[in-house]
């Protein structure tokens, strides 16, 4: 069950050209959050901007009663967020939505993140590695971004697995190309010797990338969970503002999602 709570800021660091990491304290939220879920953050005390901003759990630290958010400044809300100092409080609603589902039958976990899409995947990677069956699990992480400056989380991912591959659109770091190219290559080489029925792809990133990943997953008959984005108002399922088209009709990204089965999603 989600709550609305004022959470104290423990850390707030600039980690990239327009990118920040925010560590917040909440016993309740950190102990109830699941990877793939998100919080709805009030970015200002005034009514302009009016609405909260959805941001995924980047890291969940139950032991320390904290959670981390990784965000990019793209507009007024995220810009205002950067003005908050350590020690101040933020009005947070969460944990919200339906997160990733780690099927205990699966053994091969492939995390595919484009740009800021890696944000929720770190929490997921850490949870998979902390699970009891970790010795039987193989964890692969594929990261993509426009250029080197926009690659985030590589170091943290390397702490949970040594299977990390990177691609940049301009070739300034890692392989040149899209993260979906990495995925296709990975499936056709390394995964060939494995039973693909034991694999799941978890993806988050810009819509065109997600669409490409979903198509690859379908073509190769691999389970695929996708974290979607849509404009939100309430974040709690009340307004139907965040609807996205699925095989079962419009579904709320904030409650039914943000993580959806790739097979459900209708892309156009």
């Amino acid at each position: 069950m989600p709550i609305q709570e004022k959470c104290r800021i423990l850390e707030h660091q600039k980690v990239g050209p327009h990118h920040y990491k925010l560590t917040l304290v909440s016993q309740y939220i950190s102990s109830h959050a699941q990877p793939g879920q998100f919080v709805n953050v009030k970015c200002s005390e005034s009514f302009d901007p009016l609405l909260r901003r959805p941001i995924s759990f980047h890291r969940i630290n139950t032991q320390h009663r904290t959670f981390e958010l990784l965000y990019e400044v793209v507009g007024r809300g995220s810009e205002l967020l950067t003005k908050y100092f350590v020690g101040e409080e933020l009005d947070i609603l969460g944990p919200l939505g339906t997160g990733f589902n780690i099927d205990p039958e699966k053994r091969i976990h492939i995390l595919v993140g484009g740009g800021m899409g890696i944000a929720p995947l770190l929490a997921l990677g850490e949870q998979i590695q902390n699970s009891k069956v970790k010795s039987q699990n193989a964890l692969y992480v594929l990261i993509g971004a426009n250029n080197k400056e926009h690659i985030f989380g590589e170091e943290e991912f390397r702490k949970v697995t040594d299977q990390v591959q990177v691609a940049t659109d301009d070739g300034s770091y890692g392989k040149k190309g899209f993260v979906s190219d990495l995925l296709l290559n990975f499936i056709e080489t390394e995964l060939r010797t494995h039973n693909s029925e034991l694999a799941t792809i978890y993806a988050c990133g810009p819509r065109p990338m997600l669409k490409a990943v979903a198509e690859i997953a379908q073509q190769k008959k691999i389970d695929c969970q996708i974290s979607m984005e849509e404009r939100m108002a309430c974040g709690i399922g009340a307004c139907k503002g965040c609807a996205t088209k699925t095989a079962g009709g419009y579904r709320t990204v904030c409650k039914h999602g943000p993580v959806l089965d790739a097979k459900e999603i209708i892309w156009n």
């Binding site: 009514f47 901007p49 108002a233 709690i236 009340a238 307004c239 503002g241 965040c242």
Partner: protein, 291 residues
Amino acid sequence: MELAGIKMKNPVMVASGTFGFGKDFADYIDLNKLGAIVTKSVTLKPREGNPPPRIVETPSGMLNSIGLQNKGIEHFLKKQLPFLAKFDTPTIVNIAGESVEDYAELARILSQETTVKGIEVNISCPNVKKGGMSFGCDAGLTKQVIAAVRKATTQPIIAKLTPNVADITLPAKAAAEGGADALSLINTIVGMSIDIETGGSRLGSLTGGLSGPAIRPIAVRLVYEAARAVKIPVIGIGGIMSGSDAVEFFHAGAKAVQVGTANFVDTSAAINVIKEIEEYVHRHPRAFNFS
């Protein structure tokens, strides 16, 4: 207090479409504390709603083009009303139709339900092609719809008016003549927002309805005009974020208010409005007569 025959603990309701069917907010606030809950608009048949994006934020406000997504009256009665009936807060069902007959049929179906304490007739939705606002923009049609609903039920009827008219007193009087027990206003103001990179609308549908603090001065003015044109009580809606905002509407002539978009910003918005009104009344004991 009593308003249009509906007994309420206080004059603060939650506005249609901003509170779902109550359940989504029950995790956060005590629904028993609200004056009344107005449901999301219910239609005869299920409605899919409009293509995304359905939300765009605008200065101190937002545009929405939800398009009355709901699962229809049958589903409402089976799955949503029983939950609301558990609370000691009156449920007011907001209904929307594509024809006069639709409204009458919905009212007929609801007239059997003792847990429904009132019907709010949405003749003001800007986000549907058929019906909706077109009824509320025409005083003749307004009267027809309300009269048809009046015939179908003895439950209290609230006519929800659109601000997208030149003279609000015309539909206000027409609704009163049709037999409405109260008026509620305003529904959203038709607006548009363009993505300058693509040159196209930032909503999946071309236009949407503007709500939030940005519309409050318009709402206060329209409530002021409507309250002077009719004898039935007027419920003020539009950008209420705090108790003082609500009090502004009372001074304009409203007997009750509805809190809408504020629920998205703060899940306790309506509860805070109730508390702040109490504080105001404590300071100004003779300001209003809530009875």
